[in-house]
């Protein structure tokens, strides 16, 4: 929770600066943005209030907010909302870490050595067309309802961007630098850690950010089907109980967390790029 509010605070001035630069009439844009929110939430609230659609189908924004607060205090589907979120995030980080740990070195090697590239890229390209979520049946078959299944799905979503961006990052490193380091006696491992990785860093960071986004999405998909805790599971339980408010509360939690992850990685990205330029 602290990281979330920190991230929000840190981006606020940046966003404001960007807006001031682009839009001279800040007053007008503020009014229009607020009007946009008002139309969405007001329309939603009115529709829920009017009785045209039953409460069960569309609870109002106030009801969803109340449900979120309720879920944070009383357990639903096994635990409270924040505990569900925590178990989702734990799984997510494991899957993402695995994808980064395997994907980046592989991508760098493919960018460095033509032989590795020729051997791996056809298989990789073919596998990439399989939607991450399509691994689900095998995930269940191999790992049951254990932790391995969701991790496999997150991995298969987050792995390709890591490989691709590391590959292009390594390709962009000028050949003389690679040859010089090799001639001066760098071992393969040192090539990877001291030459390829730093050289490809900006591209790698962008890749990790894409991977983080896709990984989070894949996690949601995995949790809808194979697990017995986490926000996706909470939503499925809400759906089986025909409780739209619970489902919407889960969506809000997923949206906020996804947004926080993206903001955090953007911050790291700009920090690193600034460092690389200096």
């Amino acid at each position: 929770m602290t990281t979330l509010s920190n991230a929000a605070n840190a981006t606020a001035p940046k966003a404001a600066r960007r807006m001031r630069r682009r839009l001279p009439g800040i007053g007008e844009s503020l009014v229009l943005s607020l009007a946009g929110f008002a139309i969405l939430f007001g329309g939603w609230w009115l529709l829920a209030r009017s009785g045209l659609v039953p409460e069960q189908v569309l609870p109002g924004p106030d009801a969803v907010l109340a449900e979120i607060l309720h879920l944070m205090r009383t357990p639903f589907a096994g635990s409270t909302l924040q505990m569900h979120l925590l178990s989702s995030i734990g799984r997510y980080l494991m899957g993402l870490a695995l994808a980064v740990a395997v994907g980046l070195p592989l991508g760098l090697l493919m960018g460095w050595s033509r032989r590795v590239e020729r051997a791996i890229s056809p298989v990789f390209e073919a596998l990439r067309f399989i939607a991450p979520i399509a691994w689900l049946p095998f995930a269940t078959l191999w790992f049951g309802t254990g932790i391995g299944g969701p991790i496999l799905i997150i991995f298969s979503g987050a792995f390709p961007p890591c490989v691709i961006n590391a590959y292009y990052g390594a390709k962009l490193i000028p050949t003389p630098i690679l040859e010089a380091s090799r001639t001066l006696g760098a071992s393969s491992l040192r090539m990877l850690t001291d030459v390829l990785a730093p050289g490809a860093l900006p591209s790698i960071i962008a890749g990790v950010r894409i991977a983080a986004g896709i990984g989070w999405q894949s996690l949601v998909g995995a949790e809808l089907i194979v697990v017995s805790s986490g926000v996706g599971y909470l939503m499925m339980q809400g759906q089986t109980n025909l409780s739209t408010a619970v489902v919407m509360a889960g969506m809000a939690a997923i949206g906020v967390t996804g947004f926080a992850i993206d903001v955090l990685l953007r911050l790291i990205e700009s920090r690193i790029q600034k460092g690389a330029l200096a």
Binding site: A126, I130, G207, L224
Partner: protein, 269 residues
Amino acid sequence: MAQAVRAGRRGRAGMPQVVSRGGLLSFLVVLGLWALATGPLDLVGPARFPSPADFWQSGVQIVTRGYAGGTLLTQVWHSLRLVLFGFVVASATGVGLGLLMGLSPRAEKLINPTFLLLRPIPPLAWIPLAILWFGLGDAAKIFVIWYAAFVPSVINTLTGVRGVDRTILSAAEVHGASRSQLVRDVVIPAALPMIFTGLRLSLQACWTTLVAAELVGAFFGIGRVLMTASQDVNPGMILFAMVCVAILGAGTTWLLGTLERRAMPWRQA
């Protein structure tokens, strides 16, 4: 997002050709390893991963006798139809909204913040809600596919329109282009590469979302085949359905690429 998109595009444009002698070789190596591991070496049990023979039998079974309520053709056609329909509707509405926001700063200020608020909710997270609202039938699938494809098309269209070179716009204006001419002949062609990037991302999102939605609950479709195969513990059929999903994804992407080259003959490289 723009950066992500650019990186993604670079990824596709420059990746080495799949069909080469080396590529064929590594495919054969993988096939050989697969046959060895599941067959003579017995490294992987048949309940965990199918052998090439299992895979082939499953393929024959679904093509001739059908599986999970239909033959391969009906299942594939069911999924393909949903994706195509959802994708076309989403591209039309998404590109439309993106153009509107790109052309009218006022519309952008009104809509964009709200749009940015909804954007972080991944399409897959809409599936339970879609089922509550529309049930397990096609309507729910079309809704989530639409949402999945809508978001990237809006974002990329907006980015494309914003990125149109001001000089070109001024030049067209100086030469007396009307507003509609400006949009039709200058803005849209200039934004087209970005628009197509968005469409390609949309198409991928469509397939992922459809498969997920059909896994959660459906009566027909390739995702339904996957789910049934999973419940029946039929690894051969699981793998066959996965390969079908991959081929469908690759095939529709190729189709879109052809369309893209047709739409932008001036970009032939």
